[in-house]
Symmetry: C2
Subunit: 220 residues, 2 copies
Amino acid sequence: MGHASSIPAGAGRSDDESRSARKRRAIMEAATTLFLRNGYQGTSMDEIAAVAGVSKQTVYKNFADKERLFSDIILGVTESVNEFVHVMTLMLEDTDDLEKDLGELARRYITSVMQPQVLQLRRLLVGEAGRFPELARTYYERAPQRVLAALAPRLQRLAERGLLRLDDPLLAASHFAFLILGIPLDKAMFGANDDSFTAEELEHFADAGVRVFLAAYGQP
Amino acid sequence: MGHASSIPAGAGRSDDESRSARKRRAIMEAATTLFLRNGYQGTSMDEIAAVAGVSKQTVYKNFADKERLFSDIILGVTESVNEFVHVMTLMLEDTDDLEKDLGELARRYITSVMQPQVLQLRRLLVGEAGRFPELARTYYERAPQRVLAALAPRLQRLAERGLLRLDDPLLAASHFAFLILGIPLDKAMFGANDDSFTAEELEHFADAGVRVFLAAYGQP
C-alpha cells in the first residue's frame, strides 16, 4: 500500500484494471479448458482457480458461481455474430455479382462456424441443454437464429431486385445455411472428422451449397 | 429351488429367459432415464440398479460397466436405421412419380430422426463425444452416414434413369438430408423448440426441402 502512493493515481487504476482483466481472462481460459476436457459436472471451481493460478476467492469475485462462468463462456462465443451479420449486410446490400458474393459469404460463414473451439463449446452446450435450457435457447437465438433472421430480409431484398425467386425469406435463409453447413457441422458434432476439415474442403461445401441454392432460388 | 422341479424344464427355461430379458430391458430403461436426467457422469450404477429395481450385481451381470451400458443404449438407437434404409430403397427403386415418392421418403426421414428420445440421446452423445470418440464415431457411421451412403446410389440410379441431374451422388444425398432435417434438427439440438414440432411442421420442412432439392437436381 505504501508503494502505491508513489504511482500516479491514473496509472495505478489502469494497472489494476488490466491486472483484473488479465485475471478474469485467465479464469475464463482455464474454465474453458477444463469444461472441454472434463465436462461441466466434472469441473470444480477449485480446479479452475488452480489452473488459472488465482485464488478461489478471486474466481468467485469475478463469477458468482460455476453456472455463471459457464454461461459467460458460452455467450462469449456469440459476440462475433454481430460482426458477421454486419459484413453479410454490406456484402449483399448492393451486389452486382450475386453468385460471387453469395459464394464469398458462404465461405466466411462456414469458416466462422467451423472454428474448432466454437465447435467444441457447441458440443458441450448441446450436451448440457437439458440442464441449462435457458442458456441453450439464448445461445441459439444469439448465434444460429440471429444469422438466419438477418439473412432473411437481405434475401427478400434480392428477390425484390429480381435476383432471387422466393416466397418465404426465412425458409430460404435456412436452406442457404444448411446447404452450406449441414454436412461438416453434423460430422463435427460427432467428432467424426477429427475436428479438422481443410480450408479447401470447407470451400468445396460452401461452393456446392451456393450452387444448389442458386439453382433452386435464382432466376432461371 | 425345490419348487422349480415341479415346472417343466422347457417352460422353466423360457420363464428364466424372459425374466432375464425383462431385467435387461428394465436396466436399460432406468439407465436411459437417468443418463438423460443427470448426464453420464452424474449417473451411478447404484442408482441405475435402484431405479430398475434389481440388484447391483444383476446390473453388472448384464453390463460389464457403465460405459458398456451407455454404449448399448446409444447404439440401440441405430437399429431402426436398417429398416429405414430398406424402405428407402424400395420406395425409390422403381418410382414413376419422383416428386411424390421423394416427398413421402422425406416425411418418413424427418419423423424418424425427430423422435424426442432419439433427439435427447443424440444431444447426450454429442456432449460426450469428447470422452467417447469411438462411440460417437460409430453412431455417426451407423446412423446419419449410413442413410447418406444408402441414399447416394439410389439417387445415382435415378440420374441414370434421366430423372435427376447430378455428378456427385453423396453430395446430392447430403443436400437432400440437410434441406429436410437442417432446420428442426439444429433447433432441437439446443432445445429451442421445446422438443416438439407438430407433424404438420415437420411435413412442411420435408415438402419445402424436397421442392428445393428437385429445383436444383431435378430435370428442368
